[in-house]
Symmetry: C2
Subunit: 122 residues, 2 copies
Protein backbone atom coordinates (compact mmCIF):
# COMPACT_ATOMS: atom_id res chain seq x y z
CA UNK A 1 0.00 0.00 0.00
CA UNK A 2 1.29 3.47 -0.84
CA UNK A 3 2.23 5.81 1.96
CA UNK A 4 0.54 9.18 1.77
CA UNK A 5 1.70 12.46 3.26
CA UNK A 6 -0.42 15.57 3.72
CA UNK A 7 1.19 18.86 2.84
CA UNK A 8 -0.83 22.08 2.78
CA UNK A 9 -3.97 19.94 2.97
CA UNK A 10 -3.06 18.08 -0.23
CA UNK A 11 -2.67 14.31 -0.39
CA UNK A 12 0.72 13.36 -1.79
CA UNK A 13 2.04 9.84 -2.27
CA UNK A 14 5.61 9.20 -1.19
CA UNK A 15 7.80 8.75 -4.28
CA UNK A 16 9.62 5.62 -3.09
CA UNK A 17 6.30 3.85 -2.51
CA UNK A 18 4.76 4.66 -5.89
CA UNK A 19 4.50 1.96 -8.57
CA UNK A 20 7.06 2.51 -11.35
CA UNK A 21 4.53 3.90 -13.83
CA UNK A 22 3.27 6.40 -11.30
CA UNK A 23 6.85 7.43 -10.50
CA UNK A 24 7.47 8.13 -14.18
CA UNK A 25 4.26 10.12 -14.51
CA UNK A 26 5.11 12.09 -11.38
CA UNK A 27 8.59 12.91 -12.72
CA UNK A 28 7.09 14.03 -16.05
CA UNK A 29 4.64 16.27 -14.20
CA UNK A 30 7.49 17.77 -12.17
CA UNK A 31 9.50 18.35 -15.35
CA UNK A 32 6.61 20.30 -16.85
CA UNK A 33 6.26 22.33 -13.64
CA UNK A 34 10.01 22.98 -13.65
CA UNK A 35 9.89 24.12 -17.27
CA UNK A 36 7.21 26.67 -16.38
CA UNK A 37 9.38 27.94 -13.51
CA UNK A 38 12.47 28.29 -15.70
CA UNK A 39 10.55 30.09 -18.45
CA UNK A 40 9.09 32.66 -16.08
CA UNK A 41 12.02 32.92 -13.67
CA UNK A 42 13.39 36.16 -15.05
CA UNK A 43 10.03 37.90 -15.23
CA UNK A 44 8.78 40.31 -12.58
CA UNK A 45 7.15 37.68 -10.41
CA UNK A 46 10.29 35.51 -10.37
CA UNK A 47 7.95 32.47 -10.50
CA UNK A 48 7.52 32.77 -6.72
CA UNK A 49 4.24 30.83 -6.47
CA UNK A 50 5.34 28.14 -8.94
CA UNK A 51 8.58 27.58 -6.97
CA UNK A 52 6.59 27.21 -3.73
CA UNK A 53 4.27 24.67 -5.35
CA UNK A 54 7.15 22.73 -6.92
CA UNK A 55 9.18 22.50 -3.71
CA UNK A 56 6.04 21.57 -1.72
CA UNK A 57 5.46 18.70 -4.15
CA UNK A 58 9.11 17.53 -4.03
CA UNK A 59 9.25 17.82 -0.23
CA UNK A 60 5.99 16.04 0.50
CA UNK A 61 6.80 13.20 -1.92
CA UNK A 62 10.26 12.84 -0.29
CA UNK A 63 11.82 12.85 -3.75
CA UNK A 64 15.60 12.22 -3.66
CA UNK A 65 17.47 15.42 -4.54
CA UNK A 66 19.48 13.79 -7.40
CA UNK A 67 16.11 13.42 -9.19
CA UNK A 68 15.60 17.18 -8.99
CA UNK A 69 19.06 17.73 -10.46
CA UNK A 70 18.19 15.22 -13.19
CA UNK A 71 15.02 17.14 -14.08
CA UNK A 72 17.12 20.32 -14.43
CA UNK A 73 19.80 18.60 -16.55
CA UNK A 74 17.22 17.01 -18.90
CA UNK A 75 15.38 20.30 -19.38
CA UNK A 76 18.58 22.24 -20.07
CA UNK A 77 19.59 19.53 -22.59
CA UNK A 78 16.23 19.91 -24.33
CA UNK A 79 16.62 23.70 -24.44
CA UNK A 80 20.21 23.37 -25.67
CA UNK A 81 19.15 21.18 -28.63
CA UNK A 82 16.37 23.62 -29.49
CA UNK A 83 18.69 26.66 -29.36
CA UNK A 84 21.28 24.87 -31.54
CA UNK A 85 18.59 24.05 -34.11
CA UNK A 86 17.63 27.72 -34.18
CA UNK A 87 21.30 28.77 -34.37
CA UNK A 88 20.94 30.84 -31.18
CA UNK A 89 23.42 31.32 -28.34
CA UNK A 90 23.18 28.93 -25.38
CA UNK A 91 24.49 31.54 -22.93
CA UNK A 92 21.07 32.05 -21.33
CA UNK A 93 21.18 28.43 -20.12
CA UNK A 94 23.94 29.28 -17.62
CA UNK A 95 21.57 31.75 -15.95
CA UNK A 96 19.08 28.96 -15.28
CA UNK A 97 21.53 27.57 -12.72
CA UNK A 98 20.26 30.40 -10.52
CA UNK A 99 16.78 28.88 -10.71
CA UNK A 100 18.15 25.52 -9.53
CA UNK A 101 20.13 27.20 -6.73
CA UNK A 102 17.01 28.99 -5.48
CA UNK A 103 14.95 25.80 -5.57
CA UNK A 104 17.60 23.71 -3.80
CA UNK A 105 18.09 26.39 -1.13
CA UNK A 106 14.33 26.58 -0.54
CA UNK A 107 13.99 22.79 -0.42
CA UNK A 108 16.98 22.45 1.89
CA UNK A 109 15.42 24.92 4.34
CA UNK A 110 12.16 22.94 4.25
CA UNK A 111 13.98 19.72 5.18
CA UNK A 112 16.13 21.52 7.78
CA UNK A 113 13.20 23.21 9.52
CA UNK A 114 10.55 20.50 9.10
CA UNK A 115 12.22 17.12 9.46
CA UNK A 116 10.29 14.60 7.41
CA UNK A 117 8.83 11.39 8.76
CA UNK A 118 9.98 9.58 5.65
CA UNK A 119 13.68 9.28 6.30
CA UNK A 120 13.25 5.50 6.46
CA UNK A 121 12.07 5.45 2.85
CA UNK A 122 15.17 7.04 1.34
CA UNK B 1 24.43 27.10 27.72
CA UNK B 2 25.33 26.18 24.15
CA UNK B 3 23.76 23.12 22.58
CA UNK B 4 26.25 20.69 21.13
CA UNK B 5 25.72 18.13 18.40
CA UNK B 6 27.99 15.21 17.62
CA UNK B 7 28.64 14.54 13.96
CA UNK B 8 31.25 11.98 12.88
CA UNK B 9 32.52 11.92 16.45
CA UNK B 10 33.23 15.67 16.38
CA UNK B 11 31.68 18.09 18.85
CA UNK B 12 29.92 20.91 17.04
CA UNK B 13 28.05 23.80 18.64
CA UNK B 14 24.67 24.67 17.16
CA UNK B 15 24.94 27.98 15.28
CA UNK B 16 21.82 29.56 16.75
CA UNK B 17 23.10 28.96 20.29
CA UNK B 18 26.58 30.42 19.73
CA UNK B 19 27.47 33.85 21.14
CA UNK B 20 27.64 36.48 18.40
CA UNK B 21 31.46 36.58 18.31
CA UNK B 22 31.63 32.81 17.95
CA UNK B 23 29.03 32.94 15.17
CA UNK B 24 31.18 35.46 13.28
CA UNK B 25 34.33 33.37 13.76
CA UNK B 26 32.48 30.26 12.62
CA UNK B 27 31.21 32.03 9.48
CA UNK B 28 34.74 33.28 8.70
CA UNK B 29 36.09 29.73 9.10
CA UNK B 30 33.39 28.41 6.76
CA UNK B 31 34.20 31.13 4.24
CA UNK B 32 37.86 30.05 4.22
CA UNK B 33 36.81 26.39 3.81
CA UNK B 34 34.47 27.37 0.98
CA UNK B 35 37.22 29.34 -0.75
CA UNK B 36 39.45 26.24 -0.70
CA UNK B 37 36.60 24.18 -2.21
CA UNK B 38 35.97 26.69 -4.99
CA UNK B 39 39.67 26.99 -5.84
CA UNK B 40 40.15 23.22 -6.17
CA UNK B 41 36.69 22.37 -7.55
CA UNK B 42 37.78 22.00 -11.16
CA UNK B 43 40.84 19.91 -10.35
CA UNK B 44 40.90 16.11 -10.63
CA UNK B 45 39.71 15.47 -7.08
CA UNK B 46 36.74 17.81 -7.47
CA UNK B 47 37.32 18.83 -3.81
CA UNK B 48 35.36 15.76 -2.75
CA UNK B 49 36.76 15.50 0.80
CA UNK B 50 36.60 19.25 1.41
CA UNK B 51 32.93 19.31 0.31
CA UNK B 52 32.12 16.44 2.70
CA UNK B 53 33.83 18.27 5.58
CA UNK B 54 32.12 21.57 4.75
CA UNK B 55 28.63 20.09 4.52
CA UNK B 56 29.19 18.06 7.72
CA UNK B 57 30.09 21.28 9.51
CA UNK B 58 27.09 23.18 8.12
CA UNK B 59 24.71 20.29 8.84
CA UNK B 60 25.86 19.61 12.39
CA UNK B 61 25.78 23.32 13.30
CA UNK B 62 22.26 23.58 11.83
CA UNK B 63 23.35 26.68 9.91
CA UNK B 64 20.45 28.32 8.03
CA UNK B 65 20.86 27.81 4.27
CA UNK B 66 20.68 31.55 3.43
CA UNK B 67 23.99 31.87 5.34
CA UNK B 68 25.58 29.34 2.96
CA UNK B 69 24.33 31.37 -0.01
CA UNK B 70 25.72 34.50 1.64
CA UNK B 71 29.17 32.88 1.98
CA UNK B 72 29.08 32.07 -1.75
CA UNK B 73 27.96 35.56 -2.75
CA UNK B 74 30.62 37.28 -0.61
CA UNK B 75 33.38 35.07 -1.98
CA UNK B 76 32.31 35.61 -5.59
CA UNK B 77 32.20 39.37 -4.93
CA UNK B 78 35.77 39.22 -3.56
CA UNK B 79 36.94 37.24 -6.61
CA UNK B 80 35.12 39.61 -8.94
CA UNK B 81 36.89 42.66 -7.49
CA UNK B 82 40.24 40.88 -7.75
CA UNK B 83 39.66 39.88 -11.39
CA UNK B 84 38.60 43.43 -12.28
CA UNK B 85 41.77 44.82 -10.71
CA UNK B 86 43.79 42.37 -12.79
CA UNK B 87 41.79 43.23 -15.92
CA UNK B 88 40.77 39.59 -16.36
CA UNK B 89 37.43 38.12 -17.48
CA UNK B 90 34.88 37.25 -14.81
CA UNK B 91 33.39 34.43 -16.87
CA UNK B 92 34.92 31.72 -14.65
CA UNK B 93 32.77 32.99 -11.76
CA UNK B 94 29.62 31.67 -13.46
CA UNK B 95 31.10 28.15 -13.30
CA UNK B 96 31.40 28.38 -9.52
CA UNK B 97 27.60 28.22 -9.38
CA UNK B 98 28.12 24.50 -10.04
CA UNK B 99 30.08 24.26 -6.79
CA UNK B 100 27.20 25.84 -4.89
CA UNK B 101 24.68 23.54 -6.60
CA UNK B 102 26.68 20.45 -5.60
CA UNK B 103 27.01 21.63 -2.00
CA UNK B 104 23.31 22.51 -1.68
CA UNK B 105 22.27 19.18 -3.23
CA UNK B 106 24.55 17.27 -0.85
CA UNK B 107 23.34 19.25 2.17
CA UNK B 108 19.72 18.84 1.16
CA UNK B 109 20.14 15.05 0.99
CA UNK B 110 21.72 15.10 4.46
CA UNK B 111 18.72 16.94 5.91
CA UNK B 112 16.28 14.77 3.95
CA UNK B 113 17.80 11.46 5.04
CA UNK B 114 18.92 12.38 8.56
CA UNK B 115 16.32 14.69 10.08
CA UNK B 116 18.00 16.96 12.57
CA UNK B 117 16.98 17.32 16.21
CA UNK B 118 17.50 21.05 15.96
CA UNK B 119 14.41 22.07 14.03
CA UNK B 120 13.25 24.05 17.08
CA UNK B 121 16.34 26.24 16.87
CA UNK B 122 15.74 27.50 13.35
Amino acid sequence: MERISYQNGQKQAVFQQMPLEKQNNFLQELKQDYQQIVLSYFTNSGARIEIEQFTDKVFSSNLPVPQVIQIHVELIDDFSKQLKLEGRSEEILLDYRLTLIEILAHLCEMYRCHPSNYSATK
